[in-house]
């Protein structure tokens, strides 16, 4: 039995009381739930979600909203790989009371906390950008042919807009602008990776993550050609997008 947040022991089907749970309490809860079961393993608390089952007939909306308030999710996973929990937490009592009851419930509901999403997403975008960087390095070696035609930065950027874009996307970049102080904006009015997705203003928030690989591609090619840079992407309206390249002076 756990003090502090008033968890007490019980097997499936037993109702226990629990207050709004901190991360440590949830971790303890997961340990507690699994300690009795045979062959079950537990993941690290930072990347686990609690799988809950709802009682049939219970409205999920009120339950979900209460649960979303300040709770970091946990995943309980058995060694066989199947995600399990026969126990769940549901709000008890009238509206406004934040007590939760642990009981065996009916159907599955998987919860994710939004902050967990952001952390996971940032890592994935970094990985994608890194992969694009490596591909860009290889392309920067293979594509420029025959001549050492890069006398200045602008030539390198023009090479990116013309040769690199044609080789990868079969079209040229639509416009290249610069402030002559190391910042370049490359604009593509119908970016091939976004053209098939949507058109207009609907998915503006989610679109930039599909450009992470391309940002890395640009950065990698620039790095092989001797230019250290920082590349970011922005979408004003699908499928038009802008890549901003800022040259880093050593």
């Amino acid at each position: 039995s756990l003090r502090g947040n008033e968890l007490s022991s019980g097997g499936p089907g037993t109702a226990v009381r629990a207050g709004p749970l901190s991360i440590e309490a949830q971790w303890a809860l997961s340990q507690h739930l699994l300690s009795g079961g045979p062959g079950r393993g537990v993941e690290q608390p930072s990347d686990t979600v609690l799988v809950l089952r709802l009682e049939p007939g219970k409205p999920p909306a009120s339950w979900k909203s209460a649960w979303h308030r300040g709770v970091v999710p946990l995943r309980l996973q058995s060694r066989s790989g199947a995600s399990v929990s026969q126990l769940g937490l549901c709000p008890e009592g009238g509206g406004g009371r934040r007590r939760f009851k642990l009981r065996s419930l009916g159907s599955d509901l998987l919860l994710r906390r939004s902050s967990l999403d952001t952390w996971g997403q940032k890592t994935s975008l970094l990985v994608l950008e890194g992969m694009g960087f490596r591909v860009g390095q290889a392309l920067g070696e293979r594509l420029p042919r025959e001549t050492l035609a890069f006398r200045e930065e602008l030539d390198i950027l023009k090479f990116l807009c013309k040769d690199l874009w044609v080789a990868v996307f079969h079209k040229q970049m639509d416009s290249l602008r610069t402030n002559h102080q190391g910042t370049y904006v490359l604009q593509d009015n119908s970016f091939p990776l976004l053209v098939r997705m949507a058109s207009g203003l609907q998915y503006l928030e989610e679109a930039p993550k599909f450009l992470a690989f391309t940002c890395g591609l640009l950065r990698g090619t620039l790095s092989t050609l001797g230019v250290k840079s920082l590349v970011t992407a922005s979408v004003a309206a699908l499928p038009a997008c802008k890549f901003q390249v800022v040259i880093q002076k050593p």
């Binding site: 070696e141 001549t147 001797g226």
Partner: protein, 141 residues
């Protein structure tokens, strides 16, 4: 045929250097190292001359009594240096031969770069690259 082949990175350290094993290898390493100065000089001279088309092949870097040293630079500032035996007259038309040999080196290096398991900046340990270099070097038995 080449007596020594070297691939030098942008930061002037060797990514790959191999010479005919019967000779004193240190001598070749030293020759390659001193030739880097000449390479840098040629690159910077090209920049100032403002020619429209700059060649990747740098030509004869400098001759010694026994050997000739040729250089080639890529767009990513990776340099290839080749040391050739002076007494070998088969390379009299040195422009063409050296250009074709350096072209093969460049293509093989590009293939190594495109290998996703290769980290740029590491020593080159590709068997395909080794095989290509072997085919360019003298067979001294």
């Amino acid at each position: 045929m080449a007596v020594c082949v070297a691939v030098i990175a942008k930061e002037n350290y060797p990514l790959y250097i191999r010479s005919v094993p019967t000779e004193n290898e240190l001598k070749f390493h030293y020759m390659v190292h001193t030739s880097l100065d000449v390479v840098d000089e040629k690159i910077s001279a090209m920049g100032k001359a403002l020619v429209d088309q700059r060649e990747l092949y740098l030509g004869l870097l400098y001759p010694t009594e026994d050997y000739k040293v040729y250089g080639y630079v890529t767009n990513s500032k990776v340099k290839f240096v080749m040391v050739v035996d002076s007494s070998n007259t088969a390379l009299r038309d040195n422009e063409i031969r050296s250009v074709s040999m350096f072209r093969k080196l460049h293509n093989s290096y590009t293939d190594v770069m495109c290998n996703p398991f290769y980290n740029p900046g590491d020593r080159i340990q590709s068997r395909a690259f080794d095989g290509m270099v072997t085919s360019m070097m003298i067979q001294v038995c």
